[in-house]
Each structure stands twice: as C-alpha cells, then as structure tokens.
C-alpha cells in the first residue's frame, strides 16, 4: 500500500499506513539535529511513550481518543478515524458540539491530564461524538493555571478559526461547569490569562 503523508507538522509527521491488515495512522516524531543524537533519541522515545499513556488514560476517563495500537521506538501507531475535523464542520454541529467539548475537557482535567494544544483541527467528529487527537504536548497536571491555559487555547482557536461563533465558547464553559466540580479557581485563572495576553494570536 502506498504510504500517504497526512500532515507534516513542526513536531511530527502523520502518515496513513497499514498495520496487521488494518488501515492505521502512524505518528513519527521528527528528529532534531541541533540536539545531541543520544538525547534526541531518548526524548523522542520518552515523549512517544508519554503520549501513548495519556491517550489511553484519557480514553479510560471517558474522553474519546483513537486507540493506541502499538508504540515502537519513536513511532505511535493509532487507529484511523475517517472523520472530518471539528474545524471543518463545527458550523453543522454547534447545537451540541460546543457544550460537549466543554464536558470532555472537564473530564480530561479530572483525570489530571492537560492537553496543551486544544485547537479544533486537533478534534474529529462523526456527528455524535468528538474525538480528541494529538496529545504531543499533553502532560499530567492538576494546576488551575494549566487548566486555564487549556480553556484559553480553545477560546483563541474559536476566535481565530471560527469568526462569528463567539457564543460557542460560552457553551464550552457551560459544559465545563456541568462536569467539573468547583471550577471557580480554573475560571479565575482563565480570566487572569486573558488579561496577561501572553497567548494572544499573532
């Protein structure tokens, strides 16, 4: 089968491939030649393993993610989900997707995971569920600051990629409040982060 490159990012390439007769997605971390080769190898391996672990934990906590099929060296082999990104179809699904997204992020946070890269192009939907992808920057954290940053990333992504959908973020927050007990400190941090302007769009 022909190998198709789906996405060539700064951190990794995403390849459509075949594995044990299944169609799969392979995520391969790009080497960085400015780093010492041993250090580079070690980091890519560690980060792949962490990503695999967090993807599995997220799924176990009720956040849809692709199944992790295999981890080999610096490659992550994932289930292929043939769905459009939320970025492409948010308009059709806004009646349920915004609130649902807030619930998912709350569940992720309750599982002590912060995603670190929540844009609508890192989400897929089959019209019933939202799948979160790309846990490359995800990590274990319980801090209100990190959680606030996650919410702020969604807000910024909605602003830049979905003009005219300002009220979507309000519903994201509604969903978050529904699922996250005592969201006060996180929402206060969100306000603080907004004012700081560190994450402003270019």
């Amino acid at each position: 089968m022909e190998v198709i490159i789906l996405k060539r990012g700064a951190e990794s390439v995403i390849i459509l491939d075949e594995w044990e007769g299944f169609q799969v997605v392979v995520k391969r971390r790009n080497p960085r030649s400015y780093r010492h080769p041993e250090l580079d190898k070690r980091l890519r391996k560690e980060r792949m393993r962490r990503e695999a672990r967090l993807l599995r934990q997220a799924r176990a906590s009720g956040v849809p993610t692709p199944h992790v099929l295999d981890v080999r060296d610096s490659d992550l082999v994932l289930e292929w989900l043939p769905f459009p990104t939320l970025k492409e179809v948010l308009g059709e699904h806004r009646d349920w997707a915004c609130r649902e997204l807030g619930r998912l992020v709350a569940r992720l946070h309750l599982a002590r995971i912060v995603h670190g890269d929540l844009t609508t192009s890192n989400m897929l939907t089959d019209g019933k569920r939202i799948y979160l992808l790309d846990f490359g920057l995800a990590r274990v954290s319980e801090s209100a600051e990190d959680r606030g940053v996650d919410l702020h990333l969604i807000e910024e992504a909605l602003k830049s990629a979905h003009p005219g959908m300002e009220d979507c973020f309000r519903e994201v927050l509604e969903g978050y409040r529904e699922e996250f007990p005592e969201p006060g400190p996180v929402l206060e941090k969100l306000e603080e982060i907004r004012l700081r302007g560190r994450y402003v769009e270019r």
Binding site: A10, R32, Y34, R35, H36, E38, G197, V200, R202
Partner: protein, 326 residues
Amino acid sequence: MYVIGLEGTAHTAGVGIVSSEGDVLANVKSVYTTEVGGFRPRDAAAHHAREFPGLIRQALEVSGLSPGDLGLVAFSQGPGMGPCLRTTAVAARTIALALRIPIVGVNHCVAHLEIGRLRTGAEDPVMLYVSGGNTQVIAYAAGRYRVFGETLDIGIGNMLDKLAREMGLGFPGGPRIMEMARRGERLLDLPYSVKGMDVAFSGILTAAKAHLRRGARPEDVAFSVQEYAFAMVVEAAERAMAHLGKEEILLAGGVALNERLQEMARIMAEERGASYHCPEPEFLPDNGAMIAWTGYLMYSSGVRMRIEDTVVRQNFRTDEVEVTWR
C-alpha cells in the same frame, strides 16, 4: 541627534553613544566581579558609582563628541538590582540636569531586543534572551513585547555559575564551562525540563553535582550540562516560533556568547527554514549602546519623562512597555 545611554542593572556599568541614524559611536563598560563569594548588590552599586564618571568621559572621547553635542540621555530603569539601578539613575539624572537635555528610562529586556534588531536587521524575531539572571523567550504581539516562555526557577547563567563554583572554576562560569565542555566526550543522564515554552534548570544543577560527587569527569559534566540546557532553551524558542508563526530567531544576553548555543540555534533555524540572527559579541551582554538606541526609539516616537518619572523599577516587566515605535 546623539544619545548617551547608561546601563547598570546588575554587574555591568556600561555607557554607549549612538546617533539617530543608528550608528554606534561608543560602547564602553566596566564589569564588577568578585574573586570569591557571590554577587553583592551594594558592592556592585559602589563599583558603578566609582566607574560611571570615567566611563562617560571615555565614551565621549571615543565618539569624538563634546557634552554639548548630546541631545538625550537614556538609562536602564529596570528590571534589576535596586542599588545598581538607583546609582545608574542618579548618574543619568545628573547628566540630564547638567546639560539640560531630556531623559528617558528604558526597559533593559526591550533594549536587548532593539539593539539586536538594529545590529542584525532582524525585523520581527523571537528573541532568546539568556544571561545570568534572565532566561526568556520574548516576541512582539499586539503592541507589546511579550514573554512567551521563561525559566520557572533560576536563570541559565546562574546555573552555569553555580556549577562552575562547584568545580572550582571562577566567575563568570559560562566561558570556563564552555572551555571544559570542549574536552567532554560522554553524554551523562540529566533531567530535561521543558513545559510548553517554559524551562527549568535547578534539576540539572542538582543532577550535575551528583555526577561530580560520584566521580564523573568534570569535562563530561560540563559537556552534558551544555547539551541539555541549551537544547531546552532552543526548543522553547522553536515552540514560540511555531506558535507565533515567526521566522526569525535572535540571540541576546551574555550566555549567547557560547558557541555551542549559537550552533544549536542556527541549526534549529535552518531546519525550520527560518533565519538566524546574532549581533556582534559586544552587543550580546549588557551594554550602554542598547540603552541609548532604545531611548532614542522611545523619544522619537513621542515618549517624554520628567525627573519624577525616572524612579527605578526593580520588577519592570517587559510587557508593561507600550511599543510606540513599531
């Protein structure tokens, strides 16, 4: 117009003179160092008080100007050590009052970025600013220079200094560590700590000390610390470039004199198809020319200060400065 700039936030007392065309006519300095023990802000301030009169005279001599040719005095208003800042501010106010010329206070971190832009031609870079006390990734966004990443504990230069002291090398530690690292061969295991665009160094220092205690070759320790610490800051800068969509990296700060760090930043830029910018060595560490030039940029865009506005600001944040000149 000719502008005189006084830098004095920490170790360095620096005096620079620039023209409004961006020519650097003088850039002289005197650095406070200690043979033993650490940095004492009061002693550094006394050093600056002693040195500034001579440095100002020297800068005028080098530039071939007389005091009457100066049209503006700029000084480093912060961030930095209180005693050092106050001494520098007094020297600058004295010049302003004696010559009856306007005065502006400059943010030290912004000045590093502006002199880098002037000397390298970088237009809208992500600046990797690495010095003794500062480790920051700074870029322009929405009218201000903003800190996108920084150290969560100690500055990278402080870490190198502490390691050098542990090894019985003198101060500043950076150059000596670099010498020693050239003879390193083995990459030892150290913690690699990048969180988003932030970094942390105290874990590296602790682990490096442990390696030394267990009898590791100091050369290997120096080599490994450089490989880890520099890869971390370069990765933080790379993430900021990806996040902001900027295509220039600019180095600043004394630690950026390190050749290995320069090499890593250059390779990172090449791999991303971005451009690499590093000013001449005299403009990397703290210097007076960067203060003079930034003072000029501020003044020419309409910034005016009365003497009462020149109170020093130890915790002057980079993003408090409204960038009126871009």
